[in-house]
Point group: C2
Chain length 336, copies 2
Amino acid sequence: MNKQKPVRLRDLAFELNLSVSTVSRAMSGKGRISDKTRARVLKAIKKSNYTPNDVARSLRMQNAMSIGIIVTDITNSFFASVIKGAQSVSREKGYSILLSNSDENILYEAEAMQLMLEKQVSGLILASVGNNGPRIDQFRSLNIPIVFIDNTPEPITSFDSVSTDNHKAAYCLTTRLIEKGYREIGMITGPLNQSSGRQRYEGFQSAMNEHGAPLRAEWIREGDFQMESGMVLMRRILETARPPRAVIISNNYMTYGAAKTIKRMGKSIPDDVALASFDTDDPTSLSSPTIASMNQPAVEIGTKAAEILINRLTAKQPLPHANLVLEPVFTDGDSW
Amino acid sequence: MNKQKPVRLRDLAFELNLSVSTVSRAMSGKGRISDKTRARVLKAIKKSNYTPNDVARSLRMQNAMSIGIIVTDITNSFFASVIKGAQSVSREKGYSILLSNSDENILYEAEAMQLMLEKQVSGLILASVGNNGPRIDQFRSLNIPIVFIDNTPEPITSFDSVSTDNHKAAYCLTTRLIEKGYREIGMITGPLNQSSGRQRYEGFQSAMNEHGAPLRAEWIREGDFQMESGMVLMRRILETARPPRAVIISNNYMTYGAAKTIKRMGKSIPDDVALASFDTDDPTSLSSPTIASMNQPAVEIGTKAAEILINRLTAKQPLPHANLVLEPVFTDGDSW
DNA sequence: TTGAAAGCGCTAACAT
DNA sequence: ATGTTAGCGCTTTCAA
């Protein structure tokens, strides 16, 4: 348990009677160097257990080769998948991942962004919870690219983003519901100041209007994407004098909460109230009922976001903003 | 979109007619400095949007104030929760998180460890997939602490670790099963070269032996913690001439796979075969049947691991190894 | 109380 | 083909 000093380039150089720069070149493969010395150096590196100090390299290169990822909740399987996707392409391209959870807290998000800045990340993948203009400007003025996922700021075209066609997803989901014969449909929306929440709400509205189905205010509640609000709001909706026959719920957690409430009230899905949702992927395949759901392709969002980011980082010329909008993936269920 | 040069300490110093060291002291609060200049500096920092370069600081301080976390699969809700726990403590104490997924691949794990080394992490939280002795030694010789979670290496007492009492968990689970009247019990184990897999198997054995229940080789199969192996092995077990009445399955994914197989074979849980498992937490609470399960306290594992790590990092004197063994948390279900 | 200067480990321009 | 040297942005002795 000797607290051994780490081997530095200088140590290797000394041992081999070479200069640091020669050793450095031997490692990087850049610059002219004779095959003999190169082999000699590489051998010495192996047996000395040399580990390059990437902090020093980052400082010198003015590039830490790392990507920051800020999500609201890593425990949400959607974000976990996004991260997994982003991580896999990052590794491939030689970038490491700095991770932060914002816990849906705008203050934590700001802190995390500040941290990323200080750590000199090469770029950021951000699932933002709200308006964080000043910090975003700071990234921009330092020319550190951000790719927005899930929620996108306005106007979208002045940022990079990877998102899902939420309007369409909600529109389709609602239309299917109507085609199944439901007309009295309520909704538990997400926060309407977040693009995902708002777009899903608007898609719902469009479909309802187009099919001449009634939009009743007491059937529509704005939640916060947390399970708790799903529980509370579903109860409120079901306790109206004349509750709807179906409810669309804007994300997975609120749906789980809502389902809990429905069970507790002794009602059944879909007989008493039908449910349709977003992003309720079920790794267990034990759910009952299975929830009809429009899902964002999470892993793909992660890989695409990382690709767009790295692409921009390695581009020779300024690139136009990329606004990738992926198709939602529908999975049917017996919740309706 | 001016690619503005970041403000450095030197720029601030110039602007204020001070030296860099004075500005640095003003920021850090260390060292004598007059209140006036201090205020002056702080004001300038605010309005100039100065962002300290942490890479430079890390190099100078020989401490990156970051913690590496390597897990096998961030998509597994167990690990996601571990990370969440670790992250929250880390943030509090001023450490950032470098994340890597090993995808249950020992080669990726080794690569990730190498990366962490190069990035000069202050410490590592490692959910190891297998024997990775040399790399572990490297951390040790560089005096970079590792806290093992989930799987622990042998001999456990020469490492820091946070784990769950897997033997006990399996023993209790098996005993309960027996007390419910089951005697013909099979098991789909995890990899027996991983401590979690092995200990759960041994706990099962102990309980079976102690209660004089039969251990039949054809009812016991070694899986790899993936869903696929749960599917395959459950089929194999059920296709034996005389299948068991209950099967204990060593983790969540294999259980989901096994349940799928059981359904596909047109059998029912628990009437045809009862199930008991580990770590099957169900965020949806929609599972049917709900799975009786012994769960690791995931978030707590994460927080404790981070605490132990940071504690060691900030200790003045060498600390003895910490081997925290947490109690499993039982959640009943109607799978038995 | 403040400033000058060294140096963390590395890369790269320049010199040999 | 190899060596010398400057310098990335910061902290911290040491000197003024």
